[in-house]
Amino acid sequence: MIFRTAGQFKTSYEADQALFPIKQDFYLVLGVLLLAYVVFPLTASEFAFKALLVPVLIYSLAALGLNILTGYCGQLSLGTAAFMGVGAYATYKFMSIFPEMNIFVAIFLSGFFSAAVGVAFGLPSLRIKGFYLAIATLAAQFFLVWLFEKWAWLYNYNASGAIEVSTSSVFGITVTGPTALPIVQYYCVLIVVTLVTWFAINLTRGRYGRMWKATRDMDIAAELVGIKLITAKLTAFAVSSYIVGIAGGLLVFFWKGAAEPNLFDIPLSFQILFIAIIGGLGSILGNYLGAILIVALPVVLNLLPNALGIPIDSATLEHLNVMIVGALIIAFLILEPHGLARFYAIIREKLILWPFPY
Amino acid sequence: MNVHAAPEEARDDATGTILSVNNIEVIYDHVILVLKGVSLTVPKGGIVALLGANGAGKTTTLKAVSNLLGAERGEVTKGKILFKGNEVQALSPNELVKRGCIQVMEGRHCFGHLSIEENLLTGAYTRKDGQSAIKSDLEMVYEYFPRLRERRQSQAGYTSGGEQQMCAIGRALMSRPTMILLDEPSMGLAPQLVEEIFEIVRKLNQNEGVSFLLAEQNTNVALKYATYGYILESGRIVLDGDAKTLRENEDVKEFYLGTGGEGRRSFRNVKHYKRRKRWLA
């Protein structure tokens, strides 16, 4: 009864193509936005902001970027973290060359750098496919991280080789640096993420989305129906790296506060890939679900023994955590290879049909 | 010929039955019900055709028998399948091959990167009767399909559709089966080749006593070579009988042979009208 689609007829293609063809979806999204914009900020603790809310948002944004490339365009990439790094270092350079610059402008401009780098490393995708391409993206991963380490100009010749976020403010409110309030940073990230998500939804359901999906599903056929593979693949690389780059900028400026090259190494790439896959390839919603799971899981696992009163030393706990995360990943893949988004879709489907089973 | 009333006791007593499928139900992905109680029997040394429209469930029936459903998230939820008198639902496909029942899959699944000869040799995977026996069977396959001998060293992925079809059938023969489940052997083949392949089916049937259960769209040819036929519509057997009787059935003529009424209709002048099959009425 909750999901009744009957009686909602569309009389024009505009209406049929609206973002939420079904009213209930609209209310659901409204509810989620309300939660994110009003309820969480009122209730969350500092720890919740820093360890849960902000990371979930940033990771899901990065996963969204990756999903456009891998889930929509079918080009497996293992270099996400490096492209995040490009975004982060570009933002850092912008902010240190033009200290008065608005941080959001800097972040959105930096996206273009990572988009350009993404396109450069995406060029081989015109020849190379599948796992070969995946390994090739590792070239970007390793080369860029090496560059972050060796090119001292990037980190302003800091002795440590790390970049550190200085304090900056927008409209008189401190948004970055150690003195920025977590809730402010949360709102900053949330706004960016909402905006980019909306863009991504539009892109994926329009012409580009179709080109990407066609390339993913059968690239030869796509070419034969008139899609230029070069355009499809390179725009996917560009858009994906752009979003990923923004996520990188946010990661450093609104969450970590500092970063060394290592941060952008392969484990982060894998983590983002996990989120995209566990969430569901080729789905926007999945990124958020996946990020919630992957971010919350270790936090919960860490708190669990304490909550249950089981004495366990930190190393053993860590080993167990790693084991459990590994096992859970496998379990999730087995239960629903198409990810949490599919899970949600099935539930929704059932609700529409309810009370009939088929 | 009757409209699928009580098939069980009518056929199961026959001692000459090699395969009998009793009232099976198949579900894919836990939700998609595809076969809704299908029963059929194949007599020893018989050629039985399984006819029906696209998506009727022919392939599913064959895969249920050969136990290849698992890999596609499908399962038999009801009913029994007896091969040579033993229940086989729980067996793995390779066990079934060892017992002499092999499937030739729809769509020519050849091993693309293996040469034609290697493809054929994989067919002998379950055999334990030594190299020389396998060698001589290989020769036999080449006798049946001279084209394969010509292309024995080519990678199967680069051979044409017809050659791949021959390769798939030849590969099945290499296991020395007593029963072959043949899925759409004629699909995409030139008319001449279709006849050739069915001739080989007949030869095998007569010379080696191999039984066949074949799923076909090409009703014409299928009923020419088969001894008995079943017609499957959306997961149910709607009609069965001797090949000859089926050939003369008005409905079959109308809907499967295209020769109903005033002889063969032309494809150019098809009118759009919703026809109703009598058995569904």
């Binding site: 720890f47 820093k50 360890a51 240190s96 090496w146 380490e149 302003n156 800091n158 002795a159 440590s160 080789g161 790390a162 550190e164 200085s166 304090t167 640096g177 150690p178 003195t179 970590k256 506060g257 500092a258 970063a259 060394e260 290592n262 941060l263 190494d265 484990p267 982060l268 860490n302 030393d313 930190s314 190393a315 706990l317 860590e318 080993h319 790693v322 | -």
Partner: protein
């Protein structure tokens, strides 16, 4: 009363091999105090580990997780130290990074909340250079000194100082980085050493890198007596991998392994009581286990100082900051603690957060590390201006950096 002292430890990951003995030492000293004296000054010490795997990322998470209750943060990696450094000003939690972290942290006037006693990396580099040049740096003129270092903030720490000294004293300085992924496969680095034939190789290595380097050195036949490591490159476990062949390898250290009274207490109250995480009691003799004890001792002395000054057993983070700034660990104090000769005496102050206590050279004799030098001291005259300059630079690039007006020197 209870005092919560978390430790951002790493018993997992590629650096676990060297991390574990240190963490064990730290833990066991605290447990011993709890068992023997019921804590410190009437306050029980709650020693809690948060696992970082030497990963900066996780380290920062641990910092965030523990900071609300903690009186101190022990980040245990230069990378983590650098990242939490700006935050500690805001969160008002002292960093205790004994023998690691950012060398300019010595400048307490800039880094009010950070402490790296008894000695900094630049002090260490200076002491090593003093040792290999027999106290006369100018004798290195025309020679070549290589720095084989982990390509990580930790490994890069000594570079500015050595660069400066090389320029001043006319020796050639050759940094050779080892990437985190190459730690176990250093043949390219050692081929470079073979080609360049440096007169000395100084190692700033950690974890699996140490064993890899020593193995390669043996293979390349680099003379062991010209090969010197920082204190983190002097772990018995690493050298045991090469055994006899590593004979002559040296490592600077600010603790000397041996049997001290305090060790007996730990043995009776912790190890024998079954309350230690040590694999075997033998490991108590290792350099690193004992260094872990020294590290906890420094922290505990800070707590004691704060308790005395503020007259309360349950001190808070800001009070501990004062305590760490007013450490005075003399030979007498060490003797009282049953640690005479175990580590260097030092004292900290408002302007000096390191203490610059000096150290000794240890040498691997094939089975264990033994002391082979008198106490070595760093060249403070050279280091101090550099520290001041870099500290100011840091404050500037992290502007607005809080000054000490809120925490006037007393």
């Amino acid at each position: 009363a209870e005092i919560y002292i978390p430790n951002l430890s790493y018993r997992t990951g590629p650096f676990a091999a060297t991390g574990i003995p240190l963490m064990n030492g730290q833990r066991d000293y605290v447990e011993m105090l709890n068992a023997r004296d019921g804590g410190v000054g009437g306050a029980k010490l709650i020693f809690d580990e948060c696992e970082t795997g030497y990963n900066t990322n996780k380290g920062v998470e641990c910092y965030e997780k523990t900071k609300s209750k903690a009186v101190v943060t022990q980040p245990w990696s230069t990378g983590i130290t650098l990242q939490v450094l700006p935050r500690t000003n805001v969160d008002k939690i002292p960093i205790l990074a004994p023998g690691y972290g950012f060398s300019p942290m010595a400048d307490g006037e800039v880094f009010a909340w950070a402490f790296n006693p008894p000695i900094s990396y630049w002090d260490g580099a200076s002491m090593i250079l003093n040792y290999i040049s027999d106290g006369d740096l100018s004798s290195l003129n025309g020679k070549k000194v290589a720095l084989l270092h982990l390509d990580h903030p930790f490994g890069k720490e000594p570079i500015p100082l050595i660069e400066k000294l090389a320029e001043e004293n006319g020796f050639e300085f050759l940094p050779i980085p080892v990437g985190l992924k190459e730690m176990q496969n250093q043949s390219a680095q050692w081929l470079q050493i073979r080609r360049e034939r440096p007169d000395f190789v100084i190692m700033w290595g950690w974890g699996a890198m140490n064993a890899g380097a020593i193995t390669e050195a043996v293979k390349t036949r680099y003379p062991m007596d010209q090969f010197v490591g920082v204190w983190w490159s002097g772990y018995d476990g690493d050298l045991k991998l090469v055994g006899e062949k590593g004979k002559g390898y040296k490592s600077i250290s600010w603790n000397v392994p041996g049997s001290y009274p305090v060790m007996d207490d730990i043995k009776t109250h912790v190890v024998d009581a079954g309350n230690s995480l040590l694999d075997s009691p033998e490991d108590m003799n290792s350099v690193f286990y004992q260094r872990g004890i020294v590290i906890s001792m420094i922290l505990v002395e800070g707590i004691k100082a704060a308790q005395e000054k503020f007259g309360t057993p349950e001190i808070n983070a800001e009070q501990l900051r004062w305590g760490l700034e007013n450490l005075n660990i003399t030979d007498e104090v060490l003797a009282d603690l049953g640690m005479a000769g175990m580590t260097v005496p030092f004292s900290t102050s408002c302007t000096n957060h390191t203490g610059h206590g000096g150290g000794w050279m240890l040498e691997w004799n094939g089975t264990e590390f033994v002391q082979v030098s008198d106490k070595l001291m760093p060249d403070r005259a050279v280091i101090e201006p550099l520290e001041k300059a870099k500290a100011a630079e840091y404050a500037e690039s992290n502007a607005p950096w809080p000054d000490r007006s809120a925490l006037p020197c007393e």
